[in-house]
């Protein structure tokens, strides 16, 4: 099992905008999400938001590809395909299911870590994956996240 990291950020940060989406590549295999960190790098003010780490069964229109870092440099490149955010409002991926929901003020930073054996598993089906979005926000503001997964 190899572990990888990808960073997502969303410049506008409106509701239902996705910071990052990691989906299956051509070689289907299960992968497990086990760590998430969310925060805001811009000057924060009192903005409320509810975030969601979600799993989806279908594709997403996100476009650019963020850099994926293998946590162990000796590991091979990731089989999954990370997709970064667009700056406009994104369409909802098919079958989006929230797996970890959390409210968070813009001034705060959040981290979630799964215990070994309790990771979020993405099935080995085409275009399945997991991503990060805002379910609610009192004001659109940029946010960043870092997700770690193993495959």
């Amino acid at each position: 099992m190899a572990r990888y990291s990808a960073e997502g950020n969303h410049a506008t940060g409106a509701k239902d905008n996705h910071a990052v989406f990691i989906e299956q590549g051509s070689n289907l295999r299960r992968f497990k999400t086990y760590d998430l960190t969310v925060g805001a790098s811009v000057s924060p003010v009192d903005n409320a938001a509810e975030y969601s780490l979600f799993r989806a069964t279908g594709g997403t229109p996100l476009g650019a590809t963020p850099t994926v870092v293998a946590l162990d440099p000796a590991d091979v490149a990731t089989e999954s395909v990370p997709l970064a955010a667009l700056t406009s409002v994104d369409a909802e991926p098919t079958g989006r299911t929230s797996m970890v929901n959390f409210p968070l003020n813009q001034r705060a930073t959040f981290r979630w870590v799964a215990s070994p054996g309790s990771e979020l598993i993405t099935p080995a089906t085409s275009n399945a994956g997991f991503g990060m979005t805002k379910l609610f926000t009192s004001s659109a503001f940029a946010y960043e996240c870092v997700v770690l997964w193993e495959e």
Binding site: P44, T97, M99, W112, S118, L120
Partner: protein
Amino acid sequence: MSSPCTVKRPAGYTVRTFEFGGVAEHDTLQCVHCGTHWEIMPGSGITRGFCRNCMGPVCGPRCQHCYPSEKQLDDLERISAPTIII
């Protein structure tokens, strides 16, 4: 400072760090049927449950019928890539 909300066998852990150094820590539990994680919040009033077949917590009434998460993943993969039997 807040007090941590813990359970005996957590499925995960969350921590929020606030601007003036405050920290809020919660253990999380994971639904044995849908795989959702939720933070432990004593007194929240949210209805949770326990599956005596899987011997683990469930996230609420929508997951009350036993359909283990591993079985769900297997079914998803079987549906998306059906096996041809000759």
